[in-house]
Structure formats: C-alpha cells, structure tokens
Symmetry: C2
Subunit: 618 residues, 2 copies
C-alpha cells in the first residue's frame, strides 16, 4: 500500500464510531435549522446514555465526507439570513503566506498541495460597512442566534436518561457540588446563553468564514472545555495527514483545536484544517508574521501583522491569541525570574519591544485589531506572554501586571462588542492556583479564563500531562472555562499521535472533575451511570461509558479475555472469592431476607453500641 | 536463557543506579550507627543535588545482595541494644498458612520454594513479658531512638545544595507555601520526630522482626509518602520474581509496599518480600485468614485471625490493615448506596457480621489486637471498609460513621502506645475532598491519614491513576500523610510491571505537588534545580533530575537523538528560531547592555503608561 492510501485507511479507522454508539440529533425549537449532534450509548440493560460529542460528522458512518472538498457549511444559511455580511474577493494570497519567497522554484509536489488547499478555500465574507457580526453584538441587541440555541441544547444534553441520577442530588446536598461562584442553571435556555454572551461571561467562537463549526460555548457557567494543540509539521505531506490529526483530537474530546504550525506551508495547512473542522480553530498569528520576516523578531511590524490577521480571518480562524499585554515596562520585571519569559509569542514581542525601545505594537494598535475582529467575528484569546515557566515564578509581578493589562484590553474589546477570553498559566504550585482565578475575575470582568495546565510541579518531564491535570482540575473547579492540554512530551519534543491522545484524556478527566465539583447535572449523571454499570457487573457498559472504551476493554481482556468474563461477577484484580461488589450484593440479599435487621440495628444503637466506652484504665 | 536466569538478569537491570547518581550517606550525631542513604545527582555544571532515596541498597553497585539470604539487618543492633526483646521459637508454621491442606501432595517444585522461604526467615523476637517495644512507647518515655534520628536526617536531606533556592522563599512569601494547618519546622530535629511520634501525629512503621527497614516516618509534618501495592500472584515462581517486583516499586519511589497477595503461597511469598525489603511492608491479614477458612467469610473466627496476626508479626510485617470500624449497625447504612461496599476487607467483615448477627470481631477484640501489636511494634492502619466506591457515595453516613469509630479505636490503641494511621477513601469528587481531611482531623486526634487516591471522577477506567492523582495531590496538601497509589488497571485487572511504574510516578507527582504547596523546603528546591537546568539548556541535568530520567531522555531523543542536541539551546517542540528561553536570554543580554533601560521604563510608567486611558467614546 502506498503512503496516501495508508493515510486514507488511517482516517477511516479514526472515523469509526465508538462501540455501541450512534449519532443522534436534538432539534431546535426557536430555529428549525438547529440539529445538535450527540453520541448515544446503548447499554446492555436497555437503557441509553447520551453524551456530549465533539467528533463532528466524522463518527457518522453515513456522512459523505471528502476531505478534499471540506465539510458542509452548517451555519451558512444562518449567516446569510442575518443579511449583515457580504462576499468579496479577499486578500490576494502571497508566496510569503507559506513562508517562501519563490513558489515556482519549489517543484510540482508542493504546487499540487497548494492547489488542493486553494480549491478548498471558500470565497470570504465580511461584515458590511458599519456592521458588526459578532455573537456578542447580536446578544447585546437581544437577538438569540441559532448558534446560541445550539449551545443551549448541547450543554443540557438529553435529560431523560439523567432523571434517576438527578434525583440523588435533590436528596443529598453533598452531591449538588460547590460552584465556587459560578451560577449554572438547572436548564440552560437559549436566553441564558444570550445573556452570558452579552455580558462577556461566555464566548461562542464562530468566525463567519468558518460556517462548518458546530457551535460551542466557553464560559464559567457552561461545561469546562479543553483545547488540543496540533500543527508544527515542518513539511506537510497531504490533506489527509493534517485532517487525520484534527479528527483524532476531536474524536477523544478536544472542544477546540489550536493550529500552532510554524515553518513552511502554514497557510496551506490552515486551509486544510479549517475547512475540515467542526470545532473552532485558534491560532497565534504572530508565529506566521514572524515567518514572513524570516524569523527576525525586530523586523516585525504592525502592517505585516495586520495583513496576517486579515489573511487568517478570511480563512476562518475562530480565535486569535494576541499577546497585547506584553508591555515594554513589564519586561524588566522578568529579568530576575528563574525561567524568564517562556511564552513563544511573549518572548518574540519582548524582543521587539526592547530592540525598538517602543511599546508593543499589539497594544498600541489594539482598537484597530478590534475592527478586524468584529468584521469576521474572530474572538480574542488575550495571550499571557509573561506567564510563569516554573513554580518559582508563579504569581509574580510580571504575570499579574500583564493580567491587569489584559483586563484593561477586555474592556476595550467589549466596547467593540468583540468576544474575549483571557489566557492563563502555566506553572503554578497548588497553593497559588486559586489566586490566579481570583485575580482574573477581579481584573477581567468575568471574561472566560483559558489556562495552560497549570503544572503543579516542575520535576515531571515525560509526565507533565499528569502534573498539569492536577492544576487544571483545580482551576477548572475554581472557574476556568477552558483548559489547554499538556501532553507527555511537554518540555521535551513534538507530541505524536499517542501523546495527543494521552494529553486529551488527561484533560477530559480534569474538565470532568471540575464539572462534577461545580455540580453540573449531566456530569455527575455520567459518573453515576458508569458506577451503576460497574456495580451491576455490566462490564461492556462500563467500557462503553468510559472516556476510552477500547483501552478499558483491552486492559480488562489482558487477564480475562474470554467473552464469559464480560458478564462475570468479578475481575482478575480480586478474583471471584474476593470481589467486594459480589459480596455486597450477597449482603443485601441476606439483609433483605432477614426480618428485623433494621430493628436489631436500632436496638444495638439504643443500647449504647459502644463496646469500649467507658475506656478502661490500664 | 532459562527462566530463572532471565529473572536474575531482570533484577540486575532493576538494580542499576540512576544516571549520574551515586549513593551517599549522612551520618547520625546522636547515634553513630545511623547512616542515612541518599541519592546524589551530579550535574554538568559542577553542582550536585541530593534526593530522598527509597531504593535501598539495591541501587548501590557495591552492595553484596543475595535475595536468597535477604538484606542485612540495619536495625539489629539498635533493637538488641534496647534490651527489651527476646528471641523465641515462634509459632509453628502450618500447611494452611500457604492455603493448602496437604503440602506433601504438591510436588517437589513447591516444596523447594517453601524451603527457600523457610531458610530466609529469621528467628522471631518479641517484647519481653510486660515490655512494650513500639516507637511510640519509647517516644512517650522521652527516648530518641536511632530510628527517629534516621528519620530526621532523611526528611531534611542535604541542605547545602538548597541554599540558593531557600533564599528565594525568604524573599517571596508566595513561595513559602500554605501548610493548611501543618507545622513543618525549617529543620527537622530528632527531638521533633520523637515529639510527633509521642503525640501520635506520625508513625515509624518498624516491626522488630523487620530490622532490614531503613526507617521512615508517615505524618502530616513530614514529606508526603506513597504506598504501592504488589502481590496477588496466584502461583509464585521464584524469590527473584517476587523480589524484583518489590525492587521495581521502590526504585520508582514507593515509600512503603503492601503485599496484597491472595490465594496460595501467601506465607512463602511474604517471607521473600519482607526479608528483602528496605521499606516497611503492610498487609491486610483478613485476606490470609479468609484463605485459611476456604474463602467462606462466615467461617472466620477471632482465633484464626489472631493466629494469623502472630504469624505475620513474627515474619516482620510493619503495619496491618484492620477493618475494625465495619460495625454491625453501620452495614444497613450501605444498603442504598450506588455501589455498596467496595473494600474487600469491608465486605468480608460485613458478610461475617450479618451472617452471625454479631458485632465485628475485630472491634470486640480490639484491645487483644493491641497487645499483639505492641509486642512486635506493628502499626495499625485502621481500614476504611465502608469507603465510597463512587462519587455518589462519597462522604455519606456509612463512611463517616466508620471514621468516627476509627477515631475511637485510635484512642484505644494510643492507650497501649501502639502506632496508628487511618485509612481514607476512595472515590470523592473535588468539592468533597477537604471535608474528608477535616473530619479525619476532628475525630482521629491527628493520627496520620492514609488515603487511596481519592478518585475525582468515575468515568476513567484505564486512566484512574490520573483521576486519582488529582484527588491525592489535593488531600496531600490538606494534610494526608501517605497516598496509596492507583494504577491504570484499577477496576479492570491485575497491574503489570509497567502499570506499577505508571501508578508510582503519578503518585510521586501528587505527593511532591502536596509537599511544594505545603512549603516543604526541599521539595521546592528540587523543582527549582530542575527549572534552572531547563532554563540553562542543561538537557542532561533536566533528565537526571526528573522523576523518570530514562523516559524524559527517550522522549527528547525521539525527535533529536544527536548528542549535540543535549547542549542545544532549543528542542524539537519549538525549533531554534522559536525557543522562548533562548530569546529571553537574548533579551536579558540586550537589556543589560542598554544603559538606562530601567530609567526609560520608569519614565514611561511616570507618564501614565496607559495608552488607552481615558477610553474613547465610540
């Protein structure tokens, strides 16, 4: 088999539905065009559990998908119906967009890859003169968009199957969670989504040039989301390869994906990714801008950066990391740090600022950036270029000075009705995590917080997905809206396919732990459904309800591969005689059969029940 | 190569010292016989870092180790010098100890294995009539034992290399940690250890029949410890195999090891493990007792259990899990749980209680157990037989009723000067974790808490080491003294060699995160030393200071295998142009060269420094 065929086969495998799962759709009420996809897991006891599904049409066996044509434009009609955008020719693509000066010299193979990408690209749209097409703008005008209704249905999930479990929480306050200041309603209404977006407490990243997205929200009163980073291929080989990476990431639960490619063919790769992505795509435009100036930070300029923003906005990128808070006066604050500046974007801009002895051009041109953002509905992800790179630098003056600036810029973006989230660290020991959330809430007007980890220790290279999942779970509980994953390769090298999966699963755990702690009704119900299957020895259901059904099943089958073991009332860990759950069930039956058991217990209690009271003297 | 030779080779590999590491010893002051082993890591910049070392003599290349003879009795002379013990013939070993009724029928191979084990076993010692040989008893009499001095030196580590880092914390209060009620002194003195043991806030598990142990302490004011479970082999093949598992676990950092073997040959396996273990060994004696009655819980009796305790105390087990809190009146409290009783020991005793309509015999005979414990210095690990098996059951009445009982029993054990720790859950969502610690502190007189995880979600079979490391880190910070690991195979099957390692590393991260948050001086210093190496591009030092040097190096080398890359100022993740640390160093040099940089910054600040204030009207 040749290489392209192998990739096509790999992509087909990556598209396989999860075991016992089918794609179902919940219809909108306000907007008949809304159909929210979910994954329904059929259980062996006849019940079904419906789960939030980030995998898009890729896990629909019947979906006609051709990665060389891109996904269907789910939101096309919604965008058109608003009547506030126009198609236009768009910016002329340049050789430099792919980091080369002379494309003609690069040969036929690269030319063919570029032609494929160009064929994918849609004719760009932008806001009509004077219009503002952001979800925040609509929200503030009182409009509930189809995107908002989609989000509401998606966040609620199907409530029918949860009833048994939701009743538990009504009986036991301890199960209701501690929202730590969040206000998650029992039922998320479209109007609630609108209100959250209007006040800036949530964003719906939804570039009008990325109509392929299945709308999702990032905000403290919604499910905690996770982001996976892909990209960084020096030379891409085909659409299939890039798209497979994306499909792999969303299969395991990435809610958004950042394309952090550097080097050649950035533009081409991005076409492939955006056109085939059902989740919002984020980028760090300064990376491409730097490529355009040959990697020399000092040569960056507002003009080159501005042009890059428009290029990427036309392609459909949903959010931009903009390091506008790396201000000239803050840079000396990093000089005595243990690990200086560790953000790539932050260090590039620091170098620019110092070289020119000038204020960061992203800061001085911030309102011009807002003008671009609102013409396409690109959301800000205000970058934390001065985040700590070690526990020793956590919560220092450089970090918090930048955070306060991000708060100032948030107000400015909101003046333009541009959606904003705020990036956060990084490396933070546990006892300093909560202050990050508190300071962010204090200074950034409740704009969603989007943190990288944080890593709680520095000594775990090779296992930093775990060190950071600890911090991510905690800060997610405290109010962070989206967690940027960390893979086992962090600090060491480029993550491969398995690293991406390991990072995502660790972060799904962290996000889910936060949702459960905050008291999200659907989160605990999912836990309970799996626990019920576990207790009833429905092994297959236990696997199928888990974050990674295949691994769970494989681990079980390593020691008990026989089909009979899937219904056995024990596993190899304890063996049949020692299975505590089996014994418990015996105990229950016994107790039920014994009349007066409860009475005997009460009698025992009434008699004191404390054999060793009073304590005898030695 | 035949199977035994392969094992011998494996054991040799498992014994290899860590890269760039040598074993060093810190001498005692009070007790000249005390020599505390530590691992010294030699850095490429001429510095050295000394780390806590659980691996025992196995990582000493010069150590003469013969697993068929067992380790040297480090504490033999100390125990003898106290003059309060006597050698005696010991209990007669029975066929039933290994779960068989007729050993003669089992063939030569098994007989040979048993003979090997018997050859290892030392002549047992016990307290002389009327004597009490527990570390707590000595502590309360004001005696600072060699064990206590050993612990003090071990906890402090070598302070010389830490100075640079400790100075940071003096400058920055944020680095000093938040001890959450713990009181960790700057320097741990032997007298401090004595006082902590005397008041029951720490234990030193140190059975007089296990003189091979390198003393360690479990307590809230010491480094957070971790336990790894091994055992469960249905049929063991050789001493080498069992010992290799143990050596593997302590190599990666297990502070204690529990032998949870069930089935045949329990007694024989235990001989091998204890005689070759430099770390304390814990067991759950009810498992063996149940084997002796053919697996029928109802047939258990105090007499059989008592005999098993003496058998194991003579072998040298350092702590026993005793489920004395599973009281008859509490059992009905579990009937409506989502997952009933999930502790093996708990369910066995529940079944016994209900079958006989009698109070748990461990509870009714508790003081008789104390008499045995104090004759050998076996510590209690009071088992949480009613711990929650799912988030839905966390912190319920059954769990806390048992916890209060464990508090009552703690007072009783302390009356006998018997050392005690308290076991805790289990499955607990994040928002309910702190209450576990608070309740434990309230009811158990600050006896050390020893928790299993807790798991913060239920949906992650295959990844429960991560789900539980989150809870473990948090509860460790809140005050738990030892964390029992969970492996990726939890809920699914028997962990293999790699699962054991994955579980241990995840728990080393959790324990270290807790130590850093609590403000343990040596913990943060370790983080800083690695971060400094990272910032200075000393790749080799970064690997060697990490929890798993081989994996860190392998991950790095996957993309940059050349030796030159070990000194390169970048890695494959960002490449040379984008390496933020390199840019930061350029920035620093640039800033240093620019006279007046700080002045310019001050001038900028004085001029307002806020380009966008006042905010313009739209």
């Amino acid at each position: 088999m040749n290489a392209p065929d192998k990739l096509v086969q790999l992509l087909a495998l990556t598209r396989e539905p999860f075991p016992a799962s089918t794609k179902v759709h919940m219809p909108g009420q306000l907007h008949p065009g809304v159909r929210v996809p979910m994954r329904e897991v059929q259980l062996t006891n006849g019940e079904a559990v419906t789960l939030y599904d980030t995998s898009g049409p890729y896990t629909e066996p019947g979906a006609q998908i051709d990665v060389r044509r891109g996904l269907a434009g789910l939101r096309d009609a919604w965008i058109a119906a608003r009547g506030d955008t126009e198609s236009y020719e768009g910016r002329l693509r340049q050789a430099l967009d792919d980091g080369t000066k002379n494309e003609a010299r690069e040969g036929e193979r690269i030319a063919a890859l570029r032609a494929q990408a160009a064929a994918l690209q849609r004719t760009p749209r932008r806001a009509r003169a004077g219009a503002n097409v952001t979800q925040m703008h609509y929200a503030r005008k009182g409009i509930v968009t189809p995107e908002m209704e989609f989000v509401a249905l998606r966040e609620n999930g199907r409530r029918e199957w949860m009833r048994e479990y939701l009743a538990d929480a009504q009986k036991n306050a301890r199960l209701a969670g501690n929202p730590m200041g969040a206000a998650i309603p029992d039922i998320i209404t479209p109007e609630f989504v609108r209100d959250e977006v209007a006040r800036g407490r949530a964003i719906i990243p939804a570039n009008i040039n990325h109509p392929e997205t299945e709308p999702m929200a990032i905000g403290r009163n919604f499910l905690v989301k996770i982001n996976a980073n892909i990209g960084n291929s020096a030379v891409t080989s085909s659409i299939e390869e890039e798209v497979e990476k994306l499909v792999w990431a969303i299969r395991w639960g990435a809610d958004t994906v950042m394309d952090l490619s550097t080097g050649r063919n950035i533009h081409t790769t991005r076409d492939w990714i955006v056109r085939n992505s059902p989740v919002p795509i984020g980028t760090v435009p300064i990376y491409q801008a730097l490529e355009k100036v040959g990697g020399v930070a000092e040569d960056l300029s507002w003009e080159i950066f501005r042009d890059t923003l428009i290029e990427q906005a036309e392609q459909g990128v949903d959010y931009f990391t903009i390091h506008a808070g790396v201000r000239l006066p803050f840079i000396p604050l990093t000089a005595k740090r243990r690990t200086g500046i560790v953000s790539r974007g932050g260090s590039i801009l620091a170098k620019w600022c110092i070289s020119h002895h000038k204020e960061n051009f992203l800061y001085t041109h911030f309102e011009e950036i807002c003008e671009i953002m609102k013409a396409y509905d690109v959301s800000f992800s205000l970058g934390d270029g001065l985040r700590p790179g070690s526990g020793a630098d956590a919560n220092d003056e450089a970090q918090f000075a930048e955070l306060r600036t991000l708060g100032e810029l948030t107000q400015l973006a909101w003046k333009h009705d541009v959606q904003v989230m705020i990036e956060g660290p990084g490396h933070v020991p546990m006892h300093m995590i909560q202050a990050n959330m508190t300071e962010q809430l204090r200074h950034c007007g409740e704009a969603p917080f989007y943190t990288l980890g944080p890593l709680t220790v520095d000594i775990s290279p090779g296992y930093d997905h775990i060190a950071s999942a600890i911090g991510a779970a905690m800060i997610g509980w405290f109010g962070t809206a989206m967690l940027c994953y960390v893979t086992p390769k962090e600090h060491l090298g480029l993550p491969d396919r398995n690293d991406v999966k390991q990072g995502i699963i660790a972060y799904k755990i962290a996000a889910h732990a936060a949702d459960v702690a905050k008291g999200h009704p659907g989160a605990r119900a999912w836990d309970e459904a799996l626990s019920k299957a576990r207790f009833e020895f429905r092994w297959q259901d236990q696997f199928n309800l888990s974050l990674d059904p295949e691994t769970a099943k494989d681990f079980h089958d390593e020691t008990l591969p026989a089909d009979g073991a899937k219904v056995a009332h024990f596993c190899s860990m304890c063996g049949p005689k020692f299975c505590s759950m089996k014994i418990t069930q015996d105990v229950r039956e016994f107790a039920a059969a014994q009349e007066g058991m409860a009475a005997k217990s009460a009698e025992f209690k009434a008699a004191g029940g404390e054999i060793y009271i009073p304590v005898r003297q030695e």
